[in-house]
Amino acid sequence: MQAKSFIRKPRNLGMVLGLVALLGAGQVSANGEIGDHVNDLKSHLGQYSEEVNWLVGKFGAVVDTYEEKGQKGTNTNAMLEYWEEVDFHSAIETSYVPVYANIWQGIFGVKQAIDAGAPIAKVREEQKKLNQALWQALGAVKLASQYQEKGLLAKVQTTETEPTTVPETLDDIKHRLDRVVAKYAEKLPEAATSIVHDTYLHRFEGVEGVLIEQDADLVEDLEKDFNVTLPQAIDGKSSVDDVRKVVESMQAKLDRAKDLVAAAEKKRKDVF
């Protein structure tokens, strides 16, 4: 029910476009093998729904245990194992990375509150956010399945593909930045840092020459973001929300870059 109402919200238009762009870009999981199920989401929706219900129950049981037995009687590491165990994990990771990051953020929100011995009300608050992220993710996967069924989404790649144009490259960079947030939310700052470096060297560096002709200040801003602001934000001390803010600001600049490049491309003379 929640998932259905989520799909109807107007803000989902952006997400729909994001889904198309992200899946079109092709991707590989950093968490191991992606099953073939991600290329047949519709047939697996029932399974994903069951898994989300199972996760909500399991995470709820951890919080209940904490309420009953306190911190020492609660194994919060089990939450990570539950999440890693389900196929829904790779379904959302390959469908909509921003929500994937929210789930990790939610899991660690509950885990850290318990590990810190926070009052149960605070833990329930974190649990509520986690549950919302899970339902939101299920909605995203359902939406992706509809697009996949209509043939509007490219097959999820198991090997990396190269973007060939500047706009494609800029989209790919945005997607990789989403993964930075996801890895950071997953408490893997080194993995997040290596995505940033790799994205700069193998993606942004290839398009910034074209972009600098259009707006030198914008490139200067993004250079600083890639080399200073974002690496500092993912040094392990910032909150996931703070890292997300940096990434969202960079993504807005990349959107502006895309518009500039598209306008310049229209003016470009033909080869022959």
């Binding site: 190269e162 700069y200 074209v210 972009l211 259009q214 030198a216 490139v219 250079e223 080869v271 022959f272």
Partner: protein, 352 residues
């Protein structure tokens, strides 16, 4: 018929050019001897491309190579062009590995740097090019088994508020003993090719001394556009970078505090090139190469990507000094493939 006339004319001109160039220093740029060599042909003089062709394409500048490929496809509807893209060095290794396995998937290899071309050519996989193709290229850029497509010059971008051009020495080696604050990008492939050229031209010891000397006052950047931007902001006085970063920055910011200086006859003004070679026999790969050397494609890459045309009769990008004023060193560009000793040297001197 048109094609035969073109070949005959190119052949006659090439004999004249060979005679005229015999006494000239190597390499020779420019218009200094123009008129005795054939100008670049127009695409209208080439035969249509028909059939299946697989191109391995090293990552190019901002998608502009893709525009060239799209234009070739559009002009040749009977050409079935398949493209595999990737990092240039990785594609070169793939071609060699495929050959060892008895497989040949690529018909043509277009690489962004000549080192990768050298790797494939040294493995004996490149087909010889017809004389009219090599002779259409500028002297110093004529190779029997591959064709340089466009060039890029190593430059010294300098901050015009902090440094006068006359203060910059003509010798890149002298910069190690200067007081300039220097920006460089040691992890960057073009920089490593430049150090390789220095190692080949000046020797290991001189290069090691140079690296140590510059390293004392150098600020490192991730890429060479970053170097040029650092120079422009005044973080450093001068830097080492390919020419087009400065031209592009000035296109987007005409009042930028940066200009270009060139050293003379050393690695500091090396002209490196993207290149193409044919891996399979037949007319189609060779004629595809001819398309890249046409006046139209060369002009497009000069105008849009700020790359230096290497065929005769095509203007260099705006903002570069006349090419006749630049004196790059004599060096077989394919030797730049020998990167391992360079990386070892850079590690040994603490630069990497």
């Amino acid at each position: 018929m048109q094609r035969r006339a073109f070949l005959r004319s190119a052949c006659l001109n090439s004999f004249a050019a060979a005679g005229a160039l015999g006494a000239l220093p190597f390499p020779v740029f420019a218009s200094d001897v123009a008129g005795v060599r054939p100008d670049a042909v127009s695409v209208d003089q080439l035969p249509p491309l028909e059939g299946d062709l697989t191109l391995y394409l090293g990552r190019g500048e901002g998608g502009l190579y893709e525009n060239v490929l799209d234009a070739i496809r559009k002009r040749n509807p009977k050409l079935n062009l398949q493209v595999r893209r990737g990092v240039t060095a990785a594609l070169a290794n793939t071609i060699v590995a495929e050959s060892k396995a008895g497989v040949r998937r690529a018909d043509v290899f277009w690489a962004v740097d000549s080192g990768a071309i050298g790797l494939v050519a040294d493995a004996g996989l490149a087909r010889p090019l017809p004389a009219d193709v090599t002779e259409a290229l500028r002297p110093g850029f004529q190779y029997p088994q591959w064709a340089p497509v466009t060039g890029r010059i190593r430059t010294i971008p300098y901050n015009t508020e902090r440094v006068a051009r006359a203060q910059i020495p003509d010798s890149v080696m002298a910069l190690a003993d200067s007081d300039f604050a220097i920006g460089w990008a040691p992890a960057y492939a073009s920089f490593q090719s430049f150090v390789t050229a220095m190692r080949l031209l000046e020797g290991e010891k001189a290069t090691a001394d140079w690296l140590r000397g510059v390293n004392q006052r150098a600020k490192s950047y991730a890429g060479e556009l970053g170097v040029v931007m650092g120079v422009e902001r005044g973080e450093v006085d001068i830097g080492f970078a390919n020419h087009y970063y400065t031209l592009r920055l000035k296109a987007g910011k005409p009042d930028a505090n940066v200009d270009l200086a060139f050293t003379k006859n050393d690695a500091g003004c090396l002209v490196n090139a993207s290149g193409i070679l044919a891996l399979s026999e037949g007319d189609l790969p060779i004629n595809f190469i001819r398309y890249l050397l046409t006046r139209e494609v060369q002009s497009y890459l000069a105008r849009e990507a700020y790359e230096i045309p290497l065929v005769n009769g095509v203007q260099p990008p705006q903002g570069l000094p006349p090419l006749s004023e630049i004196s790059p060193p004599k060096l077989d560009l394919t030797k730049l493939a020998d990167l391992r000793p360079t990386l070892n040297l850079m590690r040994r001197t603490g630069v990497l």
